[in-house]
């Protein structure tokens, strides 16, 4: 039996050195000790949290956060497939890039949430208000995560939240403009903002009652 903390540390080391095979091996090891979902939640989430926090503190870089998320997503998909019953019992969640095409932030959050066992729909990039309102309505989305890189794109979310105000959907925003202006998320009428994958996960956990 391996100690969970030791596995977390080993995984973090493997991810930071981009050692994909080693990282996948550790995640498999964790999943054989407990249920796959527990392995995903404990070992993967904790390792990704450390890396995300390291980025926030300036110790690690965004590329490390991104590649780590990709590797973990792949490994968790193997132990917890898309159709796994644990993934199904969740409120409908979706993620997209609003009004621009810079995908990295969205991809990081998408991978991190999936690696933590959540399932969410990728709405893509270049989204506009009209499209999103239709998608939310049609797909009955109750948690909508939006990423932006440019300030004008972020400001356009205000109109979107206005149009969504009578729908049972919570809009969570992230991206550079929200990092550099800490009140911007309130100004655009979002439910919350997150600076790191960990914060995104906390918000989603809160909204879903930790239902993974």
């Amino acid at each position: 039996m391996h100690d969970i903390q030791a596995l977390v540390q080993d995984l973090e080391r493997a991810l930071l050195s981009l050692n994909r095979n080693e990282a996948i091996k550790i995640i498999h090891q964790a999943s054989t000790q407990s249920s796959p979902i527990e392995a995903a939640c404990e070992v993967v989430t904790e390792a990704l949290d450390h890396i995300g926090a390291g980025w926030e503190e300036g110790r690690y870089s965004l590329s490390q956060v991104y590649i780590s998320g990709l590797i973990c997503e792949e490994a968790v998909d193997a132990v917890l497939p898309r159709e796994a019953p644990e993934r199904k019992d969740q409120p409908k969640m979706a993620i997209g890039v609003f009004a621009d095409y810079h995908l990295l932030g969205k991809r990081i959050i998408y991978s991190s949430l999936r690696a933590a066992g959540f399932e969410l729909t990728d709405l893509g990039s270049g989204l506009n208000t009209e499209d999103v309102v239709k998608m939310v309505h049609k797909q009955q989305i109750s948690v909508l995560l939006l990423s932006t890189l440019m300030l004008p794109s972020a400001l356009k979310i205000k109109e979107l939240t206005r149009q969504l105000k009578d729908m049972p959907v919570k809009v969570v925003v992230g991206g550079a403009p929200f990092r550099f202006d800490e009140n911007l998320w309130k100004e655009v009428g979002a439910y919350a903002t997150g600076k790191t994958p960990k914060e995104a996960l906390e918000i989603v956990n809160n909204l879903t009652g930790g239902k993974v």
Binding site: G58, L62, Y101, L104, G126, M150, L151, P152, D181
Partner: protein, 350 residues
């Protein structure tokens, strides 16, 4: 443009020599605000070099700016490669969907001729026109996207990171194409009358890649590229962190660095002392919320921490001030520099 005895050019050159000029030089990186001055939409404004010439001259005069920026917009270089640009009414044009959709396309990527490219001609014409107007009195800052950072718009960040880490063959090929293009674009701007080139390289910041990756990639590319640019350069990291790579940046041959509001400007000044001029680090995104009191406080604080000894230019942290920042705030920044930016700096803590 400045009526004082010393010109903006002399002021900037002195500070680049790590000496104290008459006052702190100020680079307000205003691009889209020229459209406001001329009463045009952003798209209309950037459609003709004559508009940019007039806009830059008016902005320079109005705010006593110490530089002229004949920069149009980031995705202009993507347009030169045949990519898409998406216009906005209230911000800079954005690059559209990346034109490299499959990474294997890199093997067949053709470099546009920066000298004859139709879309780049307006930059050269604006630079020539501005040079005719201001001569050697005000530095004209040309801008290029670094070969290492351009791929974010060419292929998207996610695909780019994957080739950077896992496909060295395609990474090398892409850098060869981009480097040649960048050198040609920079040198043609210098021929047109630019004084210096701002080498935009956000991907090299430690916000995006770790130092060990930088040393094997962005650093070497910057060294090679900057050595072929026939004029002085400043490197800008567009709000990215650089504290851990300051000594490395100094070895790329650049003279100055654009710094982030996420890092302490006083500590940055110490780290760069005698090696690099520090440019920064007002928070451009937050700036639209500043009232007069806050603006004065921030500008004074930055001057107090970074200006003594020269080697410092007050500017925003991103290299382009958002369209939403008001004339009042810009005027307050300028007035605060005129009031408190005279050497020797006499601002105390608090």
């Amino acid at each position: 443009m400045n009526t004082m005895a010393i010109t903006s050019m002399e002021r900037v050159l002195k500070t680049l020599g790590h000496q104290e000029p008459d006052r702190v030089p100020m680079f307000l990186m205003l691009t889209m605000h020229g459209a406001k001055e001329l009463g045009l939409s952003i798209r209309e404004y950037f459609s003709k070099p004559e508009h940019v010439i007039e806009g830059q001259l008016r902005l320079g005069q109005k705010y006593q700016n110490d530089c002229i920026v004949p920069f149009f917009y980031g995705p202009l270089e993507i347009e030169a490669f045949g990519g898409e640009v998406i216009w906005a009414d209230d911000g800079p044009p954005n690059s559209g969907e990346p034109f490299i959709r499959s990474i294997e396309q890199i093997n067949h990527l053709k470099m546009p001729d920066a000298r004859s490219s139709k879309v780049l001609q307006k930059v050269y014409k604006a630079t020539e026109g501005l040079n005719k107007e201001v001569g050697n009195k005000i530095p004209i800052i040309g801008v290029v996207m670094s070969p290492f950072s351009l791929p974010v718009m060419q292929m998207g960040f996610d695909k780019y990171l994957e080739i950077m880490f896992f496909r060295p063959d395609l990474f090398k090929r892409l850098m060869e194409v981009n480097q040649e293009f960048c050198v040609n674009f920079a040198n043609r701007q210098l021929e047109a009358g630019a004084t210096a080139i701002c080498y935009f390289d956000p991907v090299s910041s430690t916000t995006i890649i770790p130092r060990e990756t930088y040393l094997k990639t962005g650093f070497l590319i910057a060294q090679q590229t900057i050595s072929r640019i026939k004029g002085p350069t400043a490197t800008h990291f567009a709000s990215g962190r650089i504290m851990d790579i300051v000594d490395d940046i100094a070895k790329t041959g650049t003279a100055a660095v654009g710094t982030s509001t996420s890092e302490d400007i006083g500590m940055m000044k110490v780290a760069c002392k005698g090696k690099l001029t520090v440019i920064g680090n007002m928070n451009g995104i937050d700036m639209r919320n500043w009232d007069r009191t806050k603006t004065v406080h921030i500008v004074k604080d930055i001057i107090r921490k970074a200006a003594p000894g020269g080697g410092f230019i007050l500017s925003d942290n991103h290299g382009e001030i958002p369209f939403q920042v008001s004339e009042e705030t810009l005027m307050t920044i300028s007035e605060t520099v005129q009031t408190y930016g005279h050497y020797p700096i006499q601002l105390s803590d608090g």
